[in-house]
């Protein structure tokens, strides 16, 4: 069995543990024996994006040690997947430690959750049931840094009971931007309010995205406005199933067919599976 490591991200760990639990539920339902390497902490993106490359070095080192021995890494964050894939080599180069540079080069491939589901497992229908009106915000890093394209939307369209409403100006940044949200708070809020306005214009009950960092910013505005709109991470929607009613077997309890012949081939991980 390939070893699949769940990279939970520091924000999800401390503030949004439900997202991590949803990923575990979802992957186990799909037959993936995911593990949580307990030594992990943070990918270092907050330091890199603020300009503190030196302070990111110990975090990258810790990340490599924590996931050493995994065949693949899965994370419910486009932004942190992007950081691992596009920024770790910068930090390693900065450290001047050839061992760290090699470590980054040889690290297991890191997949954002929807990439892992669609590209590696070959699933778009994950057996979820979520009878609500939903709109989806494609976060910038998942969209432009990783190029997840329509994978999240394909996953959402396959959810039973879900009505997907189109978000106007969907690909425009919500204004979170990490450090930007505080350093340029006014501009960040102006962008966020426009995003919140578009979300409310859809009439959706729930705003879904693949990054809790951006959602924290948008939901902070939506709840301050008493909009009554809820935000949820995509993983939590995909993990949702019908309540078990007596006399009916719970749907989607077992592993789904995943479009390839052997269990091993199913999770065979190759770097080619992802456009880097």
């Amino acid at each position: 069995m390939p070893r699949v490591g769940l990279m939970i991200t520091c924000l999800n760990d401390a503030l949004f543990p439900d997202t991590g639990r949803a990923v575990v539920t979802l992957l186990r339902r799909l037959g993936v024996d995911v593990e949580f390497p307990a030594a992990q902490t943070c990918c270092g993106q907050p330091m890199v994006n603020t300009g503190y490359l030196d302070d990111a070095v110990p975090l990258v080192r810790n990340h490599l040690d924590a996931f050493d021995g995994c065949d693949a890494i899965v994370t419910p964050s486009g932004s942190c997947a992007g950081s691992v894939r596009h920024q770790h080599h910068l930090v390693a180069r900065r450290s001047g430690d050839p061992g760290l540079v090699r470590g980054v080069e040889q690290a297991p491939p890191t997949y954002e959750l929807t990439e892992y589901l669609v590209d590696v497992l070959g699933v778009t229908d994950v057996g979820a049931y979520f009878p609500h009106r939903v709109t989806y915000h494609p976060t910038c890093h998942s969209l432009r840094m990783l190029g997840v394209r329509d994978r999240p939307v394909r996953l959402l369209r396959a959810v039973r009971g879900l009505t997907l409403l189109e978000l106007p100006g969907a690909s425009e940044c919500c204004g979170f931007g990490g450090t930007f949200a505080v350093k340029n708070a006014e501009t960040s809020i102006a962008m966020g309010n426009d995003k919140a306005h578009h979300v409310r214009s859809t009439g959706a009950e729930v705003l879904v995205a693949g990054d809790n960092s951006c959602l924290m910013h948008i939901s902070g505005l939506l709840s301050r406005q008493r909009s009554g709109v809820r935000v949820m991470h995509l993983a939590e929607v995909l993990a949702a199933t019908e309540p078990v009613i007596s006399g009916r077997a719970e749907r989607a309890a077992g592993p789904h067919s995943v479009g390839s012949a052997t269990p091993d081939a199913r999770t065979a991980v190759t770097p080619e599976a992802v456009t880097r």
């Binding site: 949580f36 910038c140 931007g177 505080v182």
Partner: protein, 493 residues
């Protein structure tokens, strides 16, 4: 133009005023939205757009790798074609050359083709100080000049103005600069353009010296190119006796054939047109036709410093199309003046700090942070400048420069150090999460439920206020994911 970007406050402060200007917000949202839509349409119809972008980037990279060779070849080609080549290390040298040439011809005025390089060196002020009027002939530059204003966009310097404001400026100011606007002027674009045409015509016919920039300078042939929409540039390039062009050294292209790629990329990215209305090319002096005295001032002004930076040098690929400004959600809300430089928007945020150098001026140092790193700029850049990558790189340059100068670490330095120490160990992270969870339990008593059952806090005083003034704050989870995984024996999901 008496206005200058000197004294612009750091970006967050400058942005604050712009964000409250409802007229500006509306003007910008409308203008950038329109250009964005047009660009998307004409780019979408080119099947090989990505290959064109790669070709454009490759051409510029080749130029930058062999810049000295191409510049010397350009000088030889220009000289052979009857032009005089001048080299300017910085703004002061370039201005002195242009002022000296104008004075040598005994003129008290020059007509100008829209040019970013001459804005960058503030040539107009240098000319005015020498008693020489510099008349801008590009419609938007004219609006900015008449309004004693500053440009706020690379392509459309007066993008922050609307029709009504332009009409007012024309009525109020045109008379003191030449032919007055008709008294019955309306804000109909055609009427406004006609007033500008009447006003400019006498200047075109009178001027003996013109000053331009160049979009491209072909080393192989000594050919300079100006790409424009209005034809005012064409007037300046053909009518006067003397033509002086100020050209950034990164504008050189190896061969005439390279224009094939560039002239496909630029108009589509810039104005959202398949081809721009006027493309003028000239090669030195053509006897009996057009300017009989042609000067080219090759300008460095910090460009070799940019070239020395392995990550940052890609900014020199820029062909000044302004597509990055038009898609930038930050620019759309703050406008160009907030950037405190003639190069606003994403490209300005990476070019200005490199041209000026970081670590000495707080305004310059604020520019690399004036971005949410959303990546829309990289997506549309016709020469594939990875602007987010350069922004992050420049942020580290800013941090490093300050660390070297400071004896006492800043609050931000210490916060990053502390976060790095905590987060480089799972044990320390877990302990911090337990403390936060306890704090969260206490904070939850002060909070209120949000949709989904989560407890949130409203406005919080102190350092959290920058976040919480307008955004609710999620209370830390009582049990972190890590603690849950540990407690449930990793098998309950």
């Amino acid at each position: 133009m008496s206005g200058t970007f000197l004294g612009t406050p750091a970006f967050p402060t400058a942005a604050r005023a712009a964000l409250e200007d409802s007229q500006l917000r509306r003007n910008l949202a409308h203008a950038t939205g329109t250009i964005r839509g047009k660009r998307a349409g004409v780019v979408g119809e080119v099947d090989e757009w990505e290959q064109l972008r790669l070709a454009g980037a490759a051409i510029k990279d080749r130029v930058l790798r062999h810049l000295p060779d191409y510049l010397e070849q350009l000088e030889r080609s220009l000289t052979a074609a009857g032009a005089t080549v001048h080299w300017a290390r910085d703004a002061a040298e370039a201005n002195a050359i242009v002022v000296g040439l104008a004075k040598a011809h005994g003129t008290d005025e020059v007509v100008k083709v829209k040019s970013m390089a001459t804005q960058e060196i503030d040539l107009n002020s240098a000319l005015e100080n020498a008693g020489i009027h510099a008349w801008e002939t590009d419609l938007a530059e004219l609006i900015v000049q008449l309004g004693d204003d500053l440009p706020s966009h690379i392509l459309v310097p007066a993008i922050h103005r609307n029709r009504a404001e332009i009409r007012e400026i024309f009525l109020r100011e045109m008379g003191s600069a030449g032919r007055a606007a008709p008294a019955d002027l309306t804000d109909d674009p055609r009427r406004l353009a006609a007033a500008a045409r009447e006003h400019l015509r006498e200047k075109f016919l009178r001027a003996r010296v013109a000053v331009s920039g160049a979009n491209f300078a072909v080393a192989e042939t000594g050919t300079l190119t100006v790409v424009e929409s209005e034809g005012n540039g064409r007037m300046c390039l053909t009518l006067p006796e003397v033509l002086i062009s100020v050209v950034g050294i990164e504008k050189v292209l190896p061969t005439f054939a390279d224009l094939d790629v560039m002239l496909q990329l630029l108009p589509r990215s810039s104005t959202g047109e398949r081809m721009n209305p006027y493309t003028s090319t000239w090669t030195g002096v053509t006897p009996g036709d057009g300017p009989q005295e042609v000067h080219v001032v090759l300008l460095d002004n910090g460009r070799t410093d940019v070239l020395a930076d392995r990550t940052g040098r890609q900014a020199l690929r820029c062909i000044r199309c302004s597509a990055c400004l038009n898609v930038c959600p930050v620019y759309e809300r703050t406008g160009g003046h907030a950037y405190g430089s003639v190069y606003p928007g994403p490209i300005g945020a990476i070019l200005t700090p490199q041209l000026r150098g970081v670590g000495t001026d707080p305004q310059t140092d604020s520019l690399p942070y004036a971005s949410s790193l959303c990546g829309a700029c990289f997506e549309v850049c016709p020469v594939r400048i990875d602007i987010p990558e350069v922004l992050v790189h420049l942020r580290s340059e800013v941090v490093d420069a300050h660390r070297e100068h400071r004896r006492v670490p800043s609050v931000q330095d210490m916060a990053m150090k502390a976060a790095s120490w905590t987060l480089s160990s799972a044990a320390r992270t877990g302990a911090a999460e337990r403390a936060a969870g306890l704090g969260g339990r206490l904070a939850a008593k002060l909070g209120r439920p949000a949709p989904g059952g989560r407890t949130v806090l409203g406005a919080v005083p102190g350092p959290a206020s920058a976040w919480s003034d307008s955004r609710d704050v999620p209370v830390p989870a009582e049990e972190s994911f890590r603690a849950w995984w540990e407690r449930t024996g990793r098998d309950e999901a």
